[in-house]
């Protein structure tokens, strides 16, 4: 009997932080312009230890102004999507739940696009205008989960196959709406349909939005984390959780809103990147077990690591052209989804 302790939690998270740091350094090195790994690592550690205030001028500009912001974006988006995925899996009691598979990301994308269109009509101040997109994405995500949840209910119980099917159909319907909006109504601010449907980290959002993304991530993940031990029990079903002392309704509402915020924020800055929320929590469960007190932080760090790697592949594999990062995650994620589905059926 070895229950999770705070010490073990910190130790495991520290290991993941070290891996994330190594992955970030490698991602900073890779790209169209070659940078020496040794020199970069040495410079970064000096900066971190405050022995020096800048990187070598040979590559400092590229690394700090182009690659680093994109990597930071990948970290927050990857972490958000993974935590959202782990939360949806517990909330919907479905190991195959993922913001993308269930159409929630597409809902957030539609919400973002509609918000962008409204925004261009309204002539708002730039600080305020920047907040409309994530808000629209949040509403789109929240609305889609509600719709998929009700589609997936049979006789008052969630039926996991109906839920998945409902989600996939919803996703395809929403993708059609995205295509429609893209081809008929193109405004100055709107990026291409592939951006929203496959996801990409190539365009950096405005600074105010990045700030909101960071704050939103910590608040929403923190809120989900406070429910971690209740989520462990919720996996056994609502009734059983209630008899073990879980305030089921309250937990569901907290997780529902927080996971919608995470999905909405991530999609509003990067489009609908798929399968991160499916792959990462599963991988973390295999390594660390299914205790949400460990799983939530591990998914956040694992999601960051995974998306930094995926985005590095996306921008280097066909360099100098940039692949949508969602194409990379789908190439790994879709077969994995099939594998999980087959294993569950057998």
């Amino acid at each position: 009997m070895r229950p999770l302790t705070l010490g073990r939690l910190f130790l495991r998270c520290s290991i993941l932080v070290v891996i994330l740091f190594v992955v970030v350094v490698i991602a900073l090195k890779l790209g169209a312009v070659q940078v020496s790994l040794y020199g970069l690592g040495r410079d970064l550690i000096r900066v971190l230890l405050r022995q020096s205030s800048s990187l070598s001028s040979d590559y400092g500009l590229i690394v700090l102004n182009i690659r680093l912001p994109r990597i930071l974006l990948a970290i927050v988006v990857g972490a958000s999507l993974s935590v959202a995925g782990a939360s949806f899996q517990a909330l919907l009691r479905n190991p195959l739940a993922d913001p993308y598979v269930l159409g929630i990301s597409s809902g957030a994308a539609v919400g973002s696009i509609v918000a962008l269109m409204i925004e261009s009509q309204l002539a708002l101040s730039p600080e305020f205008a920047g907040l409309i997109t994530p808000f629209g994405a949040f509403l789109g995500a929240a609305f889609t989960i509600a719709a998929v949840y009700y589609l997936g209910r049979r006789d008052g119980q969630i039926d996991s196959n109906t839920l998945l099917l409902g989600g996939i159909i919803t996703a395809s319907f929403l993708s059609a709406i995205i295509m429609f909006l893209m081809s008929t109504l193109t405004g100055g601010n709107l990026r291409g349909a592939s951006y929203w449907m496959m996801g990409s980290l190539s365009t950096l959002p405005p600074e105010s939005l990045l700030f909101l993304l960071g704050i939103g991530f910590f608040v929403a993940t923190g809120a989900i984390y406070t429910t971690a031990s209740d989520l462990n029990l919720l996996l056994a079903g609502e009734k059983e959780a209630m008899h073990l002392g879980v305030d089921v309704r309250r937990i569901q509402i907290v997780v529902y809103i927080a996971a919608s915020i995470l999905t909405g924020l991530a999609v509003s800055v990067s489009g609908a990147i798929g399968y991160v929320g499916l792959l990462v929590p599963h991988a973390m469960r295999m390594i660390f077990g299914s205790d949400h007190r460990m799983l939530i932080p591990a998914s956040a760090l694992g999601g960051a690591i995974a998306l930094v790697i995926a985005d590095t592949i996306a921008r280097t594999v066909a360099a100098p052209s940039d692949l949508p990062v969602g194409a990379v995650t789908a190439m790994v994620g879709a077969p994995f989804f099939i594998y999980l589905l087959r294993r569950r059926l057998s």
């Binding site: 009997m1 029990l233 056994a236 009734k239 059983e240 008899h243 073990l244 002392g245 305030d247 299914s290």
Partner: protein, 289 residues
């Protein structure tokens, strides 16, 4: 049975308004509790559980006995507080079970269901520690006390050797014992079991009921078991609540409830009731032809 008249109280949803009351020997008191399942208010009800009353003391085993669709599970839900009675009340040590906050309720009432579904694999000890959830706060990393309680619970049901096994790799009987251990880890006053013997072979059934009798005596639990097993009820129950089609036909000791005509009518099967030397009734079933 004395059932003090209670007028409906609008503040009943607030447990603090309920003062502990009544006889300290009585732990569970079901007072004229009834329930109706209806799709909506305008349609005829699908099922009605008519008002019924009984009381139970610490250390007693109560069997709720009846054929399918007699209202056994509904009564259990009323007792557990999962459902609010349409009329009447269910009191546990003087508090209405339905109005207790989930956490407090889980510290006092533990429910063992027929099957516990698992979405992701978990170890036996992880499963049993779930029973400690209601005793902690916030993120609650399990304390040494929690581990001791969980180990004791496993030991009490004779499943300590299963501690590190996976839940999906143990037999049905072993799983039933582990689910019982999780309920014991809640350290409840009231232990409820819904058809606990359903998927067990006869040896495991007797094992389970022997341990229930021992636990009720040692830990002073009040145990309520829903079942349709006549002979196990006759052998182990201190009180029987006999239900048929939503009506409570009789409450009392097995020797008083187990009467041939009554049981034949309730279970729709020819049978014979004998008294054993220990004063317990034994039922023999015959073929209809």
């Amino acid at each position: 049975m004395s059932t003090p008249l209670r007028t409906p109280m609008p503040w009943a949803a607030n447990p603090s308004a309920d003062q502990p009351r009544g006889n300290p020997d009585v732990r569970l008191s079901v007072e004229q509790a009834s329930y109706v399942y209806a799709p909506n208010a305008s349609q005829a009800p699908l099922f009605t559980l008519e008002a019924l009353s009984f009381q139970a003391k610490p250390g007693e085993i109560i069997a709720i006995l009846g054929p399918n669709a007699s209202g056994k599970s509904t009564l259990l839900k009323l007792i557990s507080g999962a459902l609010e009675p349409l009329s009447g009340r269910v009191f546990l040590n003087g508090f209405a079970t339905h109005s207790l906050p989930p956490k407090i309720r889980a510290q006092r009432v533990a429910l063992v269901q027929q099957e516990s579904r698992l979405l992701f694999p978990s170890r036996v000890w992880e499963f049993v520690l779930q029973g400690r959830h209601a005793h902690g706060r916030g993120l609650r990393f399990e304390s040494e006390d929690d581990i001791v309680v969980a180990k004791n619970a496993l030991a009490q049901v004779g499943a300590l050797h299963l501690t590190d096994r996976w839940m999906d790799r143990i037999s049905g009987g072993e799983k039933q014992r582990v689910i019982l251990a999780r309920a014991l880890a809640q350290q409840p006053l009231l232990l409820l079991l819904d058809e606990p013997t359903l998927h067990l072979d006869i040896g495991a059934q007797v094992d389970l009921l022997d341990s229930l009798r021992r636990l009720a005596a040692e830990n002073r639990y009040t145990v309520v078991v829903v079942t349709h097993e006549l002979n196990l009820t006759g052998e182990y129950a201190d009180q029987v609540v006999l239900l048929q089609k939503g009506k409570c036909l009789r409450v009392g000791a097995p020797a008083n409830v187990f009467q041939r005509d009554l049981l034949e009518q309730v279970f729709q099967a020819p049978l014979n009731v004998e008294m054993t030397s220990s004063g317990r009734p034994r039922v023999t079933l015959f073929s209809n032809k």
